[in-house]
Amino acid sequence: MSAPVPPDATRTSYSTLVARELRKDRLAMLGLKAVIGLVALAIGAPLLVSNQPFLLRDASGLWSPWLRGLFDRLVFESAVDIFFNLLLLLAPFVALGAWALGRAKPELAAKRGRFLRGMGWVFVAVFCALAPERFGSLENPLHYSHQVQNYRIVASEARAAGHPLFAVFPPHPFSYKETDPTRSLLAPGAEHWLGTDTEGRDVFARMLYGTRISLSIGIVAVGLYVLIGIVVGALAGFFGGWIDSLLSRLIEIMICFPTFFLILTLAALIRERSIFHVMFIIGITSWTGVARLVRAEFLKHKGLEYVQAARALGIPVRRIIFGHILPNASAPVLVSATFGIASAILVESSLAFLGIGDPTVASWGETLNDGRLEQRLWLILGPGLAIFFVVTVFNLVGEGLRDALDPKLRR
């Protein structure tokens, strides 16, 4: 029998320490809360803004167009929205599952992390499956589209005709893509909270759904380039020799590229580009920073005793790299990824601003450019402040993380 250890002492891992340090940073915690709020807003967007009623009684009885519309490509044009809607439906169950897992049997509580991680991978897989429009000649079977009416107009016409329908709408019954030439460039008011753009689309709806685009751009693009950067950096740093020289050359070449020009060129050359193309392009052009960080960390770590011990034990190289060194080397990557999300969001909105984005999604940059061309302040301020807010929030979290990971830096 081993000596009894106070339960807390065993759990003081590096991440616990960092979390404790981070909790002391008021601004960073504020940023973190804002990030969580943004994610919630992005997921819950249809609860606030949709032109599909939650409940409707018409000829076919009482039903929910809202629920059916959640997965309809005619209501939500982008697969990103379909994914977030899926999250909206499933997130409560996942949270409930995680909670129940801890509640039912205390010994299972430790497995909660694994459960959540597993669910995370499931969502990643779903996202990847939703992304392509078509596989070869086959249309993506996950893309469901059905002829859907604009029930707000249906309801108001019925009211005008004198036999009102029973319909429960979300608080702001507009869609981010419904155009209306008669409502072009309306100033903010009771009906359109933030006004409308040139095509008569509701700006508040576009702002809210733009959160989804920005967040997914940031997370996916950064996820992609962190992955590339880690692999390249780990290979270069761990193996050294000619592999290192080759990969370092490659990194150097990528650094000397004027990245924004490259992104611009790549994006413009793709026909029928979607938001996923933009994510991919940002991902494959911005990995150099992470690769350099990881390479430096690996150079530092590979001579340390624990790695030598692992080698002496005959552990396969793949597991030494990813199981032993990487967890120890990932701290700076985490910081750079957080800042990376902010800059990926900036790059996407710049592209949309230049008109080289995905025209089918609600991108903040596009609305801002609209405002610039039309000289309407409400079209400039809304998206501009939204981008500013999101970027600030991620930068705050990044700063906090950096200080928490390396308290020496804080002065």
Binding site: L264, R372, V391, N395
Partner: protein
């Protein structure tokens, strides 16, 4: 030092080569026809024999008929050629677009397809045979050697005269579908005779094949011009790229270098200030404000600045600056000094929009750099000697404290160049950024490549200068 610079310069060559290779591949493998307005109706612009012929010449002129990187066309097989002929002649069921593609494939194959075409001259399928005769004549035509040489040697002249004569004979060897079968047969016989005479030209030795494999390609032809600093001709305006590029540089460089200088001029004192007043409200205030500025997207700020302070502003009292552009329309009538002032007046808003974002990082690094140095022994010594605080910071600490923000210069350069695209777009400044956006929309490869390669060169030299400036600031650093 000299050897170090030399080594760095030499190292630039493979880096530059790698970048040009990657850019070249990206541009050439991307869909879309160069030189054709992408939003225009493609079918419309491709219609008509004349347009098609001129497009063929255009492709030849810009080597677009060559394979991109490696040439394997000498190994084209007879059945491939026959298939292409069939779809070009419309024998196999094809759409109009596929037919155009097949025609283009055959034109591109050029002399490599000659032996196979000659063999197909007696194809039982008459449309295929006619197509073979047609493309054989086209593929057999030889370009003149070095046609723009102002003082050709007698040898070259004789050679070109021979090529001309041969081409003239070949040009007579044509028939239209309406011609009688006899005429067609005689033309085909003529083509066959020609092929038998020149058969040797179309048999490649191994050395030939290797040479063509690497050098008869777009990339090789591009680099052959590049080493002479010839970036080619714009595919849309047909003007040489380099002079235009240099004329655009004036705008872009003054913007980006100007904003960099401005950023350093503002950030260094701010950084010093917050280092000296470390921990005070002033320090925290500066840090916070710069942090907020850093998070503001430049296109948002630029748009707001234009909205508020430009001549188009709703607030009449604040109409201080022009709505954009580089200089006023009537700037030519001003004195030299007046012109400079006019340009400066136009550049105020763009400069602000371009500069504020880099202040945060620069001043933060300056602050950290100085704080590191302030604790050093030699600074304490300087203080102990009774030097004034101003002297201690300004003379002893600052030079070493500057080191970290010099490293940033190399990294800032690509960002600044990229950022100038948006600023030029918003303020309508006719610099490189605006030019490259137009070029991208029109698939003007030579312009895109020239701009991006040129900015790569700028970045490469920027990095070198950064490293060299270490030695200037810190004599301890020596490059051996």
């Amino acid at each position: 030092m000299k050897t170090y610079i030399l080594r760095r310069l030499l190292l630039m060559i493979p880096t530059f080569f790698g970048i040009s290779l990657m850019l070249f591949l990206i541009l050439n493998l991307a869909p879309g026809r160069p030189g054709v307005q992408q939003n225009g109706d493609l079918a419309q612009s491709m219609r008509g024999e004349v347009t098609q012929e001129s497009y063929r010449i255009f492709r030849e002129q810009f080597h677009l008929d060559k394979p991109v990187l490696l040439n394997t066309r000498f190994s084209v097989t007879a059945s491939e050629v026959r298939e292409a002929l069939q779809s070009a002649a419309g024998v196999s069921k094809t759409t109009a677009a596929e037919r155009i593609d097949a025609q283009e494939t055959l034109e591109d194959l050029g002399s490599y397809s000659v032996p196979h075409l000659a063999a197909l001259l007696h194809d039982p399928e008459l449309p295929t045979r006619d197509a073979a005769a047609y493309f054989l004549r086209l593929a057999a035509l030889q370009p003149l050697e070095d046609p723009f040489n102002p003082r050709p040697s007698a040898e070259l002249r004789a050679k070109n005269r021979a090529i001309d004569a041969e081409n003239a004979t070949l040009r007579t060897l044509r028939y239209t579908p309406e011609d009688s079968e006899e005429t067609k047969q005689s033309v085909i016989l003529g083509l066959e005779r020609w092929y038998r005479e020149h058969e040797g030209r179309f048999r490649f030795s191994t050395g030939d094949k290797i040479r063509r494999f690497f050098f008869d390609t777009r990339f090789a032809k591009y680099w052959r011009n590049l080493v002479r600093f010839d970036f080619g001709v714009s595919l849309t305006s047909r003007e040489p790229v380099v002079p235009t590029l240099i004329s655009k540089l004036k705008y872009s460089l003054s913007l980006s270098v100007g904003s960099l200088v401005l950023a350093y001029l503002i950030a260094v004192p701010l950084g010093v200030l917050s280092a000296v007043k470390k921990g005070t409200r002033l320090d925290r205030g500066v840090t916070l404000v710069l942090f907020m500025l850093y998070s503001l997207p430049s296109f948002f700020v630029a748009t707001l600045l234009l909205f508020t302070f430009s001549a188009g502003s709703d607030l009449v009292a604040l109409r201080f600056f022009p709505t954009g552009g580089w200089a006023s329309r009537d700037a030519g009538e001003l004195t030299t000094l007046g012109q400079w002032a006019d340009i400066a007046w136009h550049l105020v808003l763009p400069m602000i929009a371009m500069t504020y974002g880099s202040l945060a990082a620069l001043s933060r690094y300056m602050r950290t750099g100085l704080l590191d140095v302030i604790q050093a022994d030699y600074v304490r010594t300087a203080r102990a000697k009774g030097l004034s605080e101003r002297w201690v910071i300004g003379k002893h600490a600052l030079r070493n404290g500057l080191l970290p923000i010099l490293t940033l210069l190399g990294g800032l350069l690509p960002a600044v160049l990229g950022g100038s695209v948006i600023i030029e777009y918003i303020f309508g400044i006719p610099g490189m950024g605006l030019w490259v956006v137009d070029a991208i929309n029109q698939r003007d490869y030579n312009v895109i490549l020239a701009v991006e390669l040129f900015s790569t060169i700028l970045v490469l030299f920027g990095l070198l200068l950064t490293d060299l400036s270490y030695a200037l600031v810190d004599p301890r650093i020596r490059f051996e």
